[in-house]
C-alpha cells in the first residue's frame, strides 16, 4: 500500500529564511496556498522509510516516539530518540548548511528537455515542478559555511527520486567547473535513485561528465567533499558520489550501486543485516565518517579549515 505522507507547514516557514532572487517562480510560490512536501513511502518490502505524517506532531516510524513539529524542526528533521534521519529537500538542506544571506544560486532556471522523445516525460516533468516547486532534482550555487567559501550542490529526492538526467549532470558539472576555476572547494550532497531512465543514453553519459570534471578539479589540487544522504544509488553512486576526497554519510543512509531486490534475485539469498547502510559502507572501507545531521555543519567547517 502506498502512503503519501505530508509534512506540515514547516516547508513554508523554512522557505521564508532562504535567500531567493526576484523571479516569477518566487512570486508564484509566495502566493501559493500552503504547500506541503510529499514524502512517499515506496515499496512493499516492509522496510522502514523515514516518513513524516501530517499535523502538529508526528510519530517516529522507527521507535514510535511522539515528536512535536517544533522540536522536529529544531532537531533538523531527525528523531532525537532513535536518531532516524528523515529525508529533507534541497532548500532545507541549504538552509541548514549555508550561512544565512550568503547563498547565491547557479543555473536556477535550467529545466529538462526530452532528448530521446520519451512518451509522457514532458508531462511528468511538469507535474514534478508543480508538486515540488523545484525546477529539477539538484540545486547548485555558492555560499559560506561559518565564514568559509564553498561551492555546493544539493540533490533532492522529491523531484523524480533525485534521478540524474541531463540537467542534474549539467548543473553539477558546471558547479564543479566553477569551483575549479575559482580554486574553491565543492561539497555535493547526494540523494538519488540513480540515472533518469526517461533520458536514456543521455543520462548514462552524465556519469562521465561529472566524473571527468572531478578529475580536473583534483588535478588542480582542489577539495571535493561528498555527503551521502538517504538514498544514494545506481549511476550516482557509480560516478561522482564515490569520488570525494572525503566522503561523509548520514546515519543509516541507504548507499549502494544495485537495488536490494535485484541483488536478492541474483544471489537467491537474504542479505545481511544493515546491508547497504552507511555503517556497512564504513565497515567495508568505502566512506570516511558517519556524521549526524546536527553535527554536519561543524564537521564541514572543520574540514574546510584544514584545507584552507
Amino acid at each position: 500500500m502506498r502512503m503519501a505522507l505530508i509534512l506540515g507547514a514547516i516547508n513554508c516557514s523554512v522557505g521564508m529564511f532562504l535567500e531567493r532572487g526576484n523571479n516569477m517562480f518566487e512570486f508564484k510560490r509566495i502566493f501559493q496556498k500552503s504547500k506541503y512536501i510529499e514524502v512517499q513511502n515506496l515499496g512493499n518490502d516492509g522496510e522502514k522509510k523515514p516518513n513524516i505524517p501530517s499535523g502538529m506532531w508526528v510519530k517516529c516510524e522507527t521507535c514510535g516516539k511522539i515528536l512535536y513539529n517544533k522540536d522536529l524542526e529544531q532537531n533538523i528533521m531527525t528523531c532525537d530518540n532513535c536518531r532516524t534521519h528523515f529525508r529533507i529537500g534541497s532548500r532545507e538542506r541549504i538552509n541548514y548548511t549555508i550561512d544565512k544571506g550568503t547563498f547565491i544560486e547557479y543555473d536556477e532556471f535550467m529545466t529538462s528537455d526530452d532528448p530521446i522523445e520519451f512518451e509522457g516525460y514532458k508531462e511528468k516533468l511538469q507535474n514534478m515542478q508543480d508538486k515540488t516547486l523545484l525546477n529539477e532534482a539538484v540545486i547548485t550555487g555558492e555560499g559560506k559555511i561559518n565564514g568559509q567559501d564553498t561551492v555546493i550542490a544539493v540533490m533532492d529526492s522529491n523531484f523524480m527520486m533525485g534521478s540524474m538526467g541531463s540537467v542534474v549532470g549539467e548543473k553539477i558539472t558546471r558547479a564543479i567547473e566553477r569551483a575549479t576555476e575559482n580554486k574553491k572547494p565543492i561539497i555535493i550532497f547526494t540523494a538519488s535513485g540513480g540515472a533518469r531512465m526517461q533520458e536514456g543514453i543521455f543520462s548514462l553519459m552524465q556519469m562521465v561528465k561529472t566524473s571527468a570534471a572531478i578529475a580536473r578539479h583534483n588535478e588542480k589540487g582542489n577539495l571535493y567533499i561528498t555527503v551521502l544522504t538517504d538514498p544514494t544509488t545506481g549511476g550516482v553512486t557509480a560516478s561522482f558520489a564515490m569520488l570525494g576526497d572525503i566522503i561523509l554519510a548520514e546515519p543509516n543512509a541507504l548507499i549502494g550501486f544495485a537495488g536490494k531486490r535485484v541483488i536478492e534475485q541474483t544471489i537467491k539469498q537474504q542479505l545481511p543485516e544493515g546491508f547497504q547502510r552507511a555503517e556497512f559502507l564504513l565497515e567495508k572501507g568505502f566512506i570516511d565518517k558517519v556524521v549526524d545531521r546536527k553535527d554536519m555543519k561543524d564537521t564541514l567547517t572543520q574540514i574546510l579549515k584544514v584545507h584552507s
Binding site: 532528448p115 541531463s166 543520462s203 541474483t266 544471489i267
Partner: protein, 316 residues
Amino acid sequence: MATLPFEKNMYELKSKIDELKNLAIDQDMDLGKEIRQMEIKLYNMQKEAYKNLTAWDKVSIARLVERPTALDYINRIFDSFMELHGDRYYGDDSAIVGGIALFNGIPVTVIAQQKGKNTKENIKRNFGMPNPEGYRKSLRLMKQAEKFNRPVICLIDTPGAYCGLGAEERGQGEAIARNLMSMSTLKTPIISIVIGEGGSGGALAMAVADEVWMLEHAIYSILSPEGFASILYKDASLAKEAASAMKITAQDLINFGTIDRIIKEPLGGAHTNIDEMASRIKRNLEESITRLKSEPIESLLTKRYYKFRKIGKVIE
C-alpha cells in the same frame, strides 16, 4: 546455424537449398540453376530483413550465443597477445580479459569484457558481468599502458556490472566511478568498441575513450530493456516496446552524437563471418591508432573531455 526470430523464413529457404544440394549429389542431377535462383532469393530476403531490423531484433543479435566474443577478435586482430591477470588487491576477474599485444608492430594494451560460448564457459566468465576486481584489473592495465605510451583498445560486451553481494561489498559503485574518472585523464589514446551488449555503467566503465564505436547490430543502453520495462511500464514482458522507446541501437546513438562510428557487419550479422568482421575492425583501428598516436596528448585530453562534456539536452 544461429536462428533469430525474424530469420524464420530465411532458415526454411536455406534448409531447402541444402536439401537440393544434397539431392543433386545423391542423384547426380544438375540442379545448379534452381539452386542459384533460390540463393539469390535468400540473399535478397536477408538484405531486406536486415534493412528493417527493429530494436528488439538488434537485442536478439547482440545477445546471440553464436555472436563473436572479444577473444574471437583479439586472436584475429592482434599479434603476440599475452593475457595479464589480477587487480593486485583481491583477485582475478575472468569476465575481463586484458593484456599486451602488437598491432601491426605497434605495442598496445587490449582489455575486453568476455562472455562465454557455452554454459560452462559462461559460468567461468560470469556471463561477461564484471565484479569490482575486474574493473580494477582494467584500470591497472590502463595505467600500465599510460606508463609505456601504449594505446588502449577496449572491447565492450556485457549485460552489466555484476550485482552480487560480494560485488556490492567490494565497492562496485566505487570501482566504476574510479574508472570513469581515471580514464578521462589517461595520458594515452583510448578506443572503445561495443561489440555486443553495452550494458549501462558496467559497459561505460571501459568506454570513456577518444573514440567510441559500435558494431552495426550492437546495443548500448542505460539499462536492459527488461529492467526498463519493469521499472517504467511495471511489466518486464514489455521489453520489446521498451527496447524501441529507449533508443539503444547504434543508429540511434550515432544520431544523438553519443558515439563516433558504426562498423558495418557482414549481411546476417558478425557471427556469419567472423574473419570478415575482424578484418573490418582492424582496418578501422589502423586508421585511428595512427591518427590518435600522432596527436599531442594535451590536445587529445581536451578533445576527450569536451566529447562527453557536450552530451546532454537542457533548456535554459
